[in-house]
């Protein structure tokens, strides 16, 4: 049996190969990062001082630009004084993988720098609750409205032109307004997530609803289905699988509005944590927090995909 080439146009690879490549997609960036971090002659534009020598402003552990280090070394050498020593290093904003890995743990155990500031797990909790509430409130109104607009042309005409207009208004633009109306705490942040999600949601849901095979509706009416049974027994179950997929994508979009939402009013949540840690030049924590957002996002989506396969057993195969 001949094996399929690795690059075959629109042909699915064997499961083993798919798995290998999937793992590689994470391993490759990690390897590049490690090379840049651990191999001294790759990049490393700075010098980490191990012995300041006679240079007055050098300190042990200080990071200094390579050219400046050379210049200062030559100066003191010319005067016959003690030469500084140092090892090649990367800038402070690029921590090595092991530092970030350690930070993934220590970020949780390090107490806040100032009183009144929050622990990392509290910040993450705040972020997740803002996302969840914003998305939930949006879906509570957006999904039924979208389904109705996708089912009845009258409702579509009544809603969609305005929504089509409104979705071009950038959600962050409503930040100041949201604070003025809703105060500085959680509420305006939830409002931003809502504004960012809702208008897209109605349009996406109504579009998906319109994609229902009209033959199913015809079959249903010849079997005696009327208005309500048509809506609840055919339209909704007919599109629910696709709507579920839409929700997963929309939830991803909601995360992108989180950053904006958390900047307005009283800063809080994971965004605030990241900004604060960058201010303290604690970059391993910054990377750790960014990676955590990724992990939370991806694992939520994988969980929802798995859940979807369980709730909708009629789905063909494992199409995600």
């Amino acid at each position: 049996m001949s094996t399929q080439p690795w690059l075959a146009v629109r042909k699915e690879l064997a499961p083993r190969r798919r798995l290998v490549l999937g793992v590689l997609s994470f391993v490759i960036p990690l390897v590049i990062w490690s090379l840049v971090s651990y191999v001294p002659f790759i990049w490393h534009p700075d010098v980490k001082i191990t012995d300041p020598g006679a240079v007055s402003y050098f300190q042990k552990g200080m990071l200094i630009d390579h050219d400046i280090f050379e210049r200062e070394s030559k100066k003191v050498q010319a005067k016959g004084e003690a030469v500084p020593h140092g090892i090649p290093a990367n800038p402070i904003y690029l921590p090595a993988p092991h530092q970030v890995a350690k930070a993934m743990y220590t970020a949780f155990t390090t107490p806040p720098q100032r009183r009144g500031e929050k622990w990392l797990h509290q910040s993450l909790g705040d972020s997740i609750s803002v996302i969840a509430l914003g998305f939930f409130i949006s879906s509570l109104i957006g999904v039924p409205l979208g389904i109705l607009a996708g089912t009845y042309d009258a409702l579509s005409r009544l809603n969609e032109p305005f929504i089509e207009f409104f979705r071009y208004l950038p959600a962050p633009a409503f930040g100041a307004l949201a604070v003025a109306v809703l105060g500085i705490n959680e509420a305006p942040k939830i409002a931003i997530i809502f504004i960012g999600t809702f208008f897209q949601q109605v349009l996406v849901v109504s579009n998906t609803t319109r994609k229902l095979d009209p033959a199913l509706l015809e079959a249903a009416v010849t079997l005696g289905a009327k208005r309500m049974s048509l809506l609840f027994r055919v339209v909704i179950p007919g599109v629910v699988v696709d709507l579920y997929k839409d929700m997963r994508i929309l939830l991803g979009w909601a995360w992108t509005y989180l950053i904006v939402a958390e900047m307005i009013g009283a800063s809080s949540g994971i965004t605030w944590f990241i900004t604060q840690q960058a201010r303290y030049k604690n970059f391993p924590n910054v990377y750790a927090a960014i990676i955590m957002i990724g992990i939370i996002g991806l694992s939520t989506d994988l969980f929802l995909a798995w859940l979807g396969r369980r709730i909708f057993p009629w789905q063909r195969g494992a199409a995600a």
Partner: protein, 308 residues
């Protein structure tokens, strides 16, 4: 096919044996279920009004099997969709048991060419759908199981449609339509998407069901053999505009079995349909239009120089 048939002396398709003639006499005394009077449909297109159907008249008697056949574009699908209430007509009327049809309803079951089973429901739930939405009393589940048994899919009651083959899906669709006990069963090229073997098997199934159940069938097809094999009468339409060309009483005796496909009555009826749907002079035209400009592209000294 045409050429070969013309060599054999066939009886006229109008000749009926005594048994067949007597059966048709009895059939015509049965009550009329569906009555189509002067039916016409016009619609507006960018090139002005188009007449899809004009002056269609026919009756379907109780437990009769009527096939509608015609060239593509003759409006046969439009006709059955109007009867089903899925499309509107502009002239004439459609009467079911003497009452004008207005919109779709469970008294006219329909089986479509595309598989229209609800993918989110199991076979059993699909068959129960009509019983549940029409809110008829009784036990929907028990009834559904009976219908599923009738189409021989008892083993698959809990399967989802995507787990079934095309033929099985259409059997469920038939059971689902029959469960409502419609006055008439409308079938729009229901076996069109099936392979030849499955299609033949489905035709035999359908004959069995039709024999045993009180059901009247109006069946659209473009397959001449299928029409002759299944129908009591064949309604032949012509295109542009869609009009009734002839109503043929099929002289092939009942019960129908696949062996009859080569009987003289069968071949005579089929030849007549062929004549009506593909008129000889048109055949000539088409051949000249379709003539391919062939050039030999295999070298004479090739290893396989000739296919013969």
């Amino acid at each position: 096919m045409n050429m070969k048939q013309s060599h054999i002396e066939l009886p006229s398709y109008l000749d009926q044996s005594d048994a067949v003639r007597e059966r048709f006499e009895r059939l015509k005394k049965r009550p009329v279920i569906l009555n189509v009077r002067g039916l016409g449909k016009q619609f507006d297109s960018s090139q002005g009004p188009v007449t899809a159907l004009r002056g269609i008249d026919f009756d379907v008697h109780r437990r009769e099997f009527v096939c509608v056949i015609g060239p593509s574009g003759c409006g046969k699908s439009t006709l059955i969709r109007i009867v089903a209430g899925l499309e509107t007509h502009t002239e004439g009327e459609v009467l079911l048991d003497g009452k004008a049809v207005n919109g779709p309803g469970p008294d006219r079951g329909m089986v479509f060419q595309g598989y229209t089973l609800f993918p989110w429901l199991t076979v059993k739930k699909n068959v129960m759908f009509g019983l549940e939405v029409s809110g008829r009393g009784g036990l929907p589940e028990e009834e559904a199981l009976q219908w599923i048994d009738l189409v021989g899919l008892s083993k698959f009651v809990d399967a989802y449609p995507h787990q079934l083959s095309g033929g099985m899906k259409q059997r469920v669709a038939i059971a689902r339509a029959l469960a409502n006990q419609p006055r008439i069963l409308l079938m729009d090229e229901p076996f069109g998407a099936l392979d030849a073997q499955t299609r033949a098997r489905m035709q035999t199934y359908l004959m069995e069901i039709w024999k045993n159940i009180d059901v009247t069938i109006l069946f659209i097809t473009h397959d001449l053999d299928e029409a002759v094999f299944l129908a009591d009468r064949v309604l032949v339409l012509k295109a542009n505009p869609g009009e009734v060309q002839e109503v043929i009483e099929v002289p092939v005796p009942h019960p129908r079995i696949p062996d009859q496909l080569l009987s003289p009555e069968f071949l005579a009826t089929r030849a007549r349909l062929e004549e009506l749907i593909h008129p000889p002079q048109e055949e000539q035209n088409r051949l000249s239009e379709d003539h391919l400009n062939m050039v030999r592209m295999v070298p004479v000294d090739d290893e396989v120089a000739d296919v013969f």
